[in-house]
Symmetry: C2
Amino acid sequence: MNTFFFTRILSYCTLLVCLSSATVAAKSGDPLPSWNNGASKTAIMQFVNKVTKKGGADFVPPAERIATFDNDGTLWIEQPMYVQLAFALDRVKAEAPKHPEWKDAEPFKSVLANDMNGVMASGEHGLLELIMATHTGMSVDEFNQIAKYWLTMSKDAKFNRPYTELVYQPMLELLSYLRANGFKTYIVSGGGVEFMRPWTEKVYGIPPEQVIGSSVKTKFELVEGKPTLMRLPEMDFIDDKDGKPVSIQKFIGRRPIAAFGNSDGDLQMLEWATATNRPHFALIVHHTDAEREFAYDRESTVGRLDKALDEAGQKGWTVVDMKKDWKRVFPFQK
Amino acid sequence: MNTFFFTRILSYCTLLVCLSSATVAAKSGDPLPSWNNGASKTAIMQFVNKVTKKGGADFVPPAERIATFDNDGTLWIEQPMYVQLAFALDRVKAEAPKHPEWKDAEPFKSVLANDMNGVMASGEHGLLELIMATHTGMSVDEFNQIAKYWLTMSKDAKFNRPYTELVYQPMLELLSYLRANGFKTYIVSGGGVEFMRPWTEKVYGIPPEQVIGSSVKTKFELVEGKPTLMRLPEMDFIDDKDGKPVSIQKFIGRRPIAAFGNSDGDLQMLEWATATNRPHFALIVHHTDAEREFAYDRESTVGRLDKALDEAGQKGWTVVDMKKDWKRVFPFQK
């Protein structure tokens, strides 16, 4: 062995030491820097520490570390209206020239007149009609392109930002922290599954196959000889309230050990995740920050948090006080 | 640095070299030892090589390496009857004392008299009735226990083996080979999803969340105050034929780049996987081995392979001749 080779080995070993020091430093750093120290952050970290401690009484094997997250109001904004509703309204306007009949028919007439009270007055049936008119009648691939394009081009009213920037920085850190600890992170949302899948991997690090949501029926058919999945104007599944535990079992086949939500629509998911003797964790994001985001709970029509807030109190679930617990809300708020 | 440390570094480096040699040796070994050399094995390996070759024209990123497998007749036996039907018949017999009315009502009467012709004469409606009577009315957890217990206790008629031993060794190797090359392996079966999930991880290395199948509706409810998912006597989804591409999109949200089946029930899945400009692979297991397993295709009522065999020929899909291509069929056949 000549000196050159010896020096190379030394350099290589030094590099290894440096690299492993860097890893240790990263590991010993705060994995949740946008969370203020307090009960919420402590509860999260204590839970993760106990289920990942090998040989500990509460150890959970990695394969069973399933964590489910609601999307609207838990990972990104939902006020003043669900992002997907904003999408539907924009799509009605874009498609109106092809549908002259919409000028005189509710709820389309109100949408075209920017009359939100009129839209809301059409009730659940009217909203469903809007969704069907804008979300179906095309192939799955086409719809994904439409959703992706709209999200690139659209901005919200309050922050004038693309919706994909209006995601909660502390929750992004929480997703990464859980994954770094062997958790598999899922979205379980009342929103449309194909509205989320085009962007969740890039924004949340959650791949399409870990996104569960509401869906319309689809049909496999040959379109000009080409196998195609067409979106039909018929609901397949509404992934909200009682539907969340149902879809979790249907898609994952395991009970989550941790569940995260922000509204009464998430209550049953949190009940399902916590109704076991195994270690479990439930967290509710309480929107208390009118200045940096929005403040709403029991009286809100969008993302109402009422029963779940009571039950969280009774059952000792972690309730995040957005104003108090989060150093910043969005990634762009330094 | 003293000599001791230098020696330690040297030993460490030697160890590294040894380890990496071992890895190379393992890698250069045959990943598909139960496959005879021939067109099928070559086609599989050429496909895997090209999609995993970094910088190659056909490289597919790991996240998109989705492979979907039918179960009955593709990964385990399906003759002389689907395993799940054998389960249903056994369950009728086990539950008969609680249902005196079954003695006089078809299809139960024929089941209790071991009259398979009578059972079959009850048609699709009768079979559905059998499935509902034996697969629903209990919680998801209870059903999983029942299915698991039955599989532990039951043996097939021809080989006198537990069904979970009647899985195809070459396909087990193929599953492992694909996973070792970054593929995510899924089951997409006409069989009941909850009948498969209790054992697929142990037998195939496929976790519950990567098992897609037919399903009944479930309902979230409080049973004695405890959140429970009850199985209802109503079909939710039949995951066969046209249903396979539909469920693949619903559950995975990506098109597979490789699909594996054995019957006309898999045809649309294979069409869907291959109707792209991306690299893709389709394989059909043709049951040609009456001695070691069963021989059946165009005329069989179980696992009929007719249209898909024609289309495989036209489209150049890989058709495995079980008798010729497989050195052994089951793990116990050394």
